[in-house]
Symmetry: C2
Subunit: 342 residues, 2 copies
């Protein structure tokens, strides 16, 4: 039951030197002699000295904490992105503080405040679906704290962003379906004001046009993109006078719903209906048939966001804000393979 809270003053007393010398020795200051450093280090080890980061943080205004804001952590895309952020941040000596907004705007505002009060050195965020007002993010900028947005980004804010090319991902997906011989391709989307869904819709449309296929508004289904939405939209689509022969969904979950409904209606995937989803969730390769998806490389996305944060910290605001757009990849599985491997 030894007292386990020694400070640099305790070390100093033991060695008959001052705390400043100890501090310098621990920080490897060149003005301290080698012997002194030696003995300080030894004593620190002997006393099992643990530095108090809080004190250092107060003194030099750096907490070495990076705040991360995500809508929710229990979605594979976000947890992987967070993991990517952590990988980079940890090796650079930063701890990560993660907060969830649950897609709730008010929670997002209070979260930003909480992180600022905690004196984080920077914030990486993906905002809520309900967020339209960016004042809370402005506040971060005003404080001179680096802010990096990822996935759900905005050009209006004038901060660095990391996202994948949603347009391209959608284009790949749609073009792949066309190449597989599907001709009447539907699209699942969310409220269109969110840029990622807008981009996906554009990519879908572009692929159609480029291959001489008509764009038919009745084939675009707007919903929350959850599993049940995927089922219901499929039902509506199949009730059309001219039902589709494929679906490109802007989410993986609703694509799964679509598959289930197709099977339930006695049709086959991919023979009768081809299906492609967006975001490579873990379940994509577990379904029957396995789901073709657009891989967003979420870990890499997180890495990139953390790297930009570190760069902004060191270089000041020169060269910033930056905008990084990663290329997605189409992971082709059975759900869209009518002709066999392309």
């Amino acid at each position: 039951m030894k007292k386990d809270k020694f400070t640099i003053h305790d070390i100093a007393r033991e060695l008959n030197i001052t705390a400043s010398t100890v501090s310098r020795a621990l920080n490897d200051n060149p003005r301290i002699s080698a012997e002194t450093k030696q003995s300080v280090l030894q004593m620190a080890k002997r006393l099992n000295y643990q530095p108090n980061n809080i004190a250092a943080a107060l003194r030099n205004g750096k907490s070495r904490i990076l705040g991360v804001i995500v809508p929710r952590i229990d979605r594979s895309f976000f947890s992987s992105a967070v993991r990517g952020i952590e990988e980079i941040a940890n090796t650079a000596g930063y701890n990560v503080m993660i907060c969830q907004t649950h897609e709730n705007f008010e929670k997002e505002v209070t979260t930003v405040e909480a992180l600022l009060n905690a004196q984080v050195d920077g914030i990486i965020a993906s905002y809520s679906k309900g967020t339209s007002n960016f004042e809370h993010f402005e506040k971060i900028k005003e404080k001179g704290i680096p802010l990096v947005l990822f996935d759900r980004t905005s050009d209006d804010l004038g901060v660095s962003q990391v996202a994948i090319d949603d347009f391209l991902g959608a284009y790949y997906a749609t073009a792949h379906l066309i190449a597989q011989g599907y001709r009447r391709i539907a699209h699942y989307t969310n409220i269109r004001k969110i840029s990622i869904f807008k981009e996906r819709l554009k990519g879908y449309r572009e692929a159609l046009t480029e291959h001489g296929l008509p764009f038919d508004e009745s084939l675009v289904q707007e919903s929350n993109l959850q599993f049940e939405d995927g089922r219901q939209c499929m039902q509506k689509l199949m009730a059309l006078p001219e039902p589709p022969d494929a679906v490109f969904s802007a989410s993986a979950l609703s694509a799964m719903g679509a598959i289930q409904m197709v099977k339930q209606m006695g049709k086959r995937v991919p023979e009768d209906i081809g299906i492609v989803g967006f975001s490579d969730e873990s379940f994509a390769s577990l379904s029957d048939p396995q789901l073709t998806t657009v891989d967003q490389h979420s870990i890499h996305l997180g890495n990139k966001a953390a790297e930009i944060f570190l760069q902004e910290l060191s270089k000041g605001s020169k060269d910033f804000p930056r905008k990084v757009v990663l290329k997605p990849d189409l992971i082709i599985r059975q759900s869209s393979l009518r002709k066999g491997k392309p």
Copy 2:
């Protein structure tokens, strides 16, 4: 571009009072008059004052940060548990700092140190598969900081624990299979020294015995319980002279692998082979057939862990350590329903 860093001293100067009065006013100290509080609050709002938590943390030794250690965040079970922890912690005014060990013992040790240096007020952890030495956890105890283990727990350490009743979950699952008429039930397990897997094995065995079925060691398959493991174990099992007619897997992922392999071998689930998994991952209800699983109520588990942390903080170490064992529930889906609803 206004300066946005005001302290209580700035407020004090504006009002011609001292910082101590401001501090007391902000903390609603009864010795401060109502008018003074009023004017302090107004001035604080006018200057857009943001308290510096770091300074307060240094002074009173409380950071209001709760450290959480999990093997990895991109697993539904852990991310949900974390979400449960956050729910409780946030409403109690705590921020949560999440760290991952990637099932790596060394990373776990350094993570504990990082959290201690960050002066967290408590730690909630689920340790790595490779962890056998608990010295780093002892250190937390020595510092007098509350430590709560969840899911992967240990009685040896003398700290509070929250877990689900793995034995009971396994018992439910196995008994359910028996009730559905399956008679030769296999079991997927991991290395047996980890208590959760030991318990699941015991529950499985108990259910067999209680229903007069023999325990057959050749039906117990040990692996890492990943998807591919589930496939391979199934293959081995089907090659036995007397193959099983059901599998109770200690993980959901390997149960999915089992389903896939059964289907690939031209047999049907649940008609020929019944399958039950452990841990209600998101994909369980998305598979075909949908997977019967043991629900660990991970969010609730997280809630409970956070509650115990808060209690330990307030009540001192009286009544502690505590051990909370939650009851799991069997979520019955198609993969085990041979006879229809039980």
